[in-house]
Structures are given as C-alpha cells and as structure tokens.
Amino acid sequence: MLLLSQIKSIEAEVDNYFQLITEAALHFQEGLAEYMSSRSELFSARLQKVSELEGKADDLRRSIRYKLYTDMLIPDARGDVLGLLETSDNIIDQMKEVMIDLDIERPDFPVEWSDDFGKLAHSTQKAVESFKMAVNSFFQGRPSTNDHINKVYFYEEEVDQVERRLKQEIYQGKLIKDLARKNQLKIFVERIADVTDITEDVCERLSVYSIKRSV
C-alpha cells in the first residue's frame, strides 16, 4: 500500500493533468482567433502548443492509471477516477484534431463571422475552465462540484446558440454560394462546438460520481 506522501504526489499529478486541459483550451481559444485573423504562423505555434499539451496529458494519464491500478484506491473509486481521466482526454483530443484539420483544410470563413467565432471560442474555453473547477471540487471533497457543473451546462448552451446561428448563416446567408464550402464550414462549426458537448458529457459522468459520493 502506498504512503500518504505518494498519495499526495498522485493528487498533484491529477491536478496537473486537468491543468493541462485548461491550458490547452486557452491556446485553442487564442488559436481560433489567430486563424480568423489569418495569422497562420501564430496559429501554427498554438497548434504546436496544444499538441505538446495533449502529449503531456497522455503521459500523465498513463502514469496515474498505472499507479491507481497497481497499489491503491478502493475499486469503486478507482473506476470513477479512471473513467473521468479517460473521458476528459477526449476534450483535449478534440481541440487538437480541430486545429490540425483547420491547418490542413484551411477553410475560408468570412471575416463577418469573426465575432461569432470569438464567442464560440470564448464559451468553449469558459466551459473547460468551469469543468476544471468542478473536477477540483470533486477531488477536494468540496460540495460545490454541481455549482461548477451547472456553469458548464450554461456555457454549452451558449455554444449551442452560436453554433445554430452560424449554421443558419452558412445555409441561409448570402455570403457563401458553393454547397461544398457550406458543408465544409458547417462541419467545422459542429466540430468546434463538439468540444463543449464532450465537456458536458464528462460533466454528466462527474455529476453521477459526485452524487454517489454524497449518499
């Protein structure tokens, strides 16, 4: 069985893992802004940073999983913690994938939509930040987990509204004529919005774990 100091070191690793996801969300937000401003070098640098963070998060997740499986944690709690780590990984993966595809496909978004893209990126970042706070509360044994989860739901709703508006612009507006381009842009909007959808899914899971711990 591990010593208390080792438990504290795992706690620090878990905290660091979720910190990496939050940091990636900030670079994701800034990266989208760079992309919309056609500053491709700066966008590439952001993509590079998100990829690095994703790699570090993967390494940390494996290290935590190994430690949790080999020597500690009551199986029920271990399953919850590992489930949380694995599904949270999808958030950072999605951000990286969107940025890679933006880099490869270079879809041409009209400048008029910059504000909406800014809101999309901002709400996504806020959702991930609130998620990190919910996770912190959960791991610290504080009762405020659900308050932060509710904030995630709020930002997810915000993202949904912007997503719907952008899709209407794509198909009903006059800025884009070509159907192939319309479809391409729609897919990108959906994939950006997927980051908050995934965050919301992880929060649903976190909410169940939190209820389980409180009864």
Partner: protein
C-alpha cells in the same frame, strides 16, 4: 493418552475451523469481497489478532459458559462440541445463517439434560438476553457512528484520494480490532467445554508463560486461523452483498460497531470498571458476530434511510436460524451423548 486427548479435542478444533471459515467473513468480508484489501493481507491480520484475542482475553466468555454447565469428562466435551459443530455445518449447508455461540449453548444445555444436572436459569437468562442485546447494541452504535462520520466527512472536506487511503487504513485497523474481539469473545465457544477436562499443562516460551487454559485457547485460536486461511475466502466474497449493499464507509461503521459489541461482552477491564463505578456490569458472554453484523447493517440502513433496499427475506432466514440453532444443538447433543455413553462407552 496424548493421541486420545487430541482425538477428543478434534471436535472443538472442527468447531474452531468452521468459526474461522464463517465468522472471519464478518470482519473482513466486505473489504475483501469488494477487493479493497487482498485476501492474503486480511487472512494474516485476522489470524494473528484472533489468536491474540483468544489467548489474552478469552477467559471471560468461557467462564460464563462454564457456569452454564460443567463438562468434566473429555468424551462428553468432545460430543457436545461435535454436536455444536455439526449443527453449524448443517445449517451452513442449508444456507441458514448460524451462530456458533447459540450452537454451543444448546449443546451444553443438552449435556445438562443428559447428565441430569440443573441448568442455572439465571445464567441462561443472562446469555439469552445478550443474544437480544448484541444486535440491538450494534444497531444503535452503527446508527450513531454512521451519523457522526458522515457529518464529519461533510465538514472536513477530505480530498477523494486521501479519503480512500484513510478508509483502507481504517479497514485494516478496525479489522484487526474486530479479529481480536472475535477471538476474545468466541474462543469460549470453541474451547470452553474442554476447560474442565483440559489435558494440557502450562507452557513457558522464553519470558512468556501460558496457563493451561491459555494453551488450550492458543490451539483453538490456531484452528480458527486455519479456518480463515482455508475456507473463509469464499464466504468473504459473498458476504456484505446479501442484506444491504454498503459503501466502504458504511462497511467500516458496521465492522467497528459489531467489533465494539463483541469487545464489550468479553472485556474483563470494562466489566470491572462498571462494577467499580457502581454500574451494572456487562456480562462476559460469547455472542454471535453474525448477529452483531446484522444489527450493524440495519443501523446503517436506518441512518441512510435505505430500509426499502434491505433484503428482508434474508433477515427472516437469519431469525429462523437464531431460533432453531440452540434447539437443534441441544437435541443433537442429547442424542449423541446417549450413543457415545451407551454404545461406545466413551465416558
């Protein structure tokens, strides 16, 4: 002579083995069943502390059983212990929860009837009242402890991983205490009937001297430990899920409450402390760890307002077992004593 003594002791050792196989699960069952603690770790801690409890503090409960009926013939003690062991074995086979304490008390009363010895009704009342008090006390303790602990956890906001760590450590510590209490309280069931015909002398190992009764209890304790190692794993894997599913903290509270009850009914120190303060002393009587656990689980169920999740049919089965065990053991002891005396001329 030596071999004859060991042969007659064998029924007590069998009873000890079945106690280890069944009752160790009451202490470590939830933890091992839910894979919170490895079986090997649980078995080692359980065995060591069971033996310590039996040797250090086993005399009180055994003394009360002695007052119920004194069996001076080794062959008769063998038969009484065998009747109790066989009753436990049969009831277990029928999947009816069974108490070794009730089986041995039934067996001793069977002996009293057979030998036409008077049964002290005062002692019987004392023993039976503890059978009722044991699950009730455990219920009360677990209710109160559960309320206190959940409140404390709410206030203290202990981080998740640390809480898990503390729970594991507590499960081991409380498991050790539970094993000690089980050994102290229940060794009387296993070896109590042999005290009057004890074939062993006192034993000195280095600077420690064991009295002849302690040697008897040490052997009984080892038999219980063998039961823990050889057969308790299967029982541990099934226990804890049948009455009410418990959280790790709930399991902790149940084991601690029942261990405390077993300790109360076997602690001479506590007994003397009550006497010294003019309070009614707690009787030193072997009680059933299974009954204590059942009381504890119901206590947590009430505290969690989860009684609707309780498996009441299991509880009814347990009640049937409680009522039937002493009667079956008494009748069986009477019949076997008759056969042993008249057919085998064993005593």
């Amino acid at each position: 002579m030596v071999w004859e003594a060991w042969f007659f002791l064998s029924s007590g050792l069998f009873l000890g083995w079945s106690l280890g196989a069944n009752d160790a699960a009451n202490v470590f069952g939830t933890a091992v069943g839910a894979k919170m603690i490895r079986f090997q770790t649980a078995a080692l801690i359980c065995s060591v502390f069971l033996i310590l409890g039996a040797v250090i503090a086993g005399a009180g409960g055994a003394h009360t059983l002695g007052k119920l009926g004194s069996i001076t013939k080794m062959g008769a003690a063998f038969t009484v212990a065998f009747s109790a062991a066989f009753t436990v074995f049969m009831m277990t086979k029928l999947s009816l929860p069974v108490s070794t304490s009730q089986a041995i008390v039934g067996g001793i009363i069977g002996w009293n009837f057979f030998a036409k010895l008077p049964t002290d009704l005062g002692v019987v009342t004392k023993i039976v009242s503890t059978w009722v008090a044991c699950p009730l006390l455990s219920l009360m303790f677990s209710y109160v402890f559960y309320k206190i602990i959940t409140r404390m956890l709410h206030i203290m906001e202990i981080p998740l991983l640390r809480l898990d760590y503390y729970t594991r450590v507590a499960l081991i510590l409380i498991g050790a205490f539970g094993s000690y209490s089980l050994g102290a309280n229940n060794i009387g069931n296993v070896m109590g009937v042999f005290i009057e015909s004890n074939p062993f002398n006192s034993l000195s190992v280095s600077f420690i001297t064991f009295s002849s009764t302690q040697v008897l209890f040490l052997i009984g304790g080892i038999a219980i430990a063998v039961g823990v190692y050889t057969y308790s794993k299967r029982v541990m894997m099934t226990v804890g899920k049948s009455i009410l599913p418990l959280t790790p903290v709930g399991a902790l509270v149940v084991v601690f409450s029942s261990a405390l009850v077993l300790f109360m009914f076997s602690s001479r120190g506590l007994h003397n402390l009550m006497l010294a303060n003019g309070l009614p002393p707690i009787p030193l009587v072997p009680v059933s760890s299974s009954q204590a656990i059942v009381g504890g689980v119901i206590g947590v169920g009430i505290a969690k307002k989860a009684l609707r999740n309780m498996n009441w049919s299991v509880l009814i089965n347990i009640m049937i077992g409680w009522v039937l065990t002493p009667f079956i053991a008494a009748i069986l002891a009477f019949l076997l004593l008759f056969i042993m005396k008249n057919v085998f001329k064993a005593f």
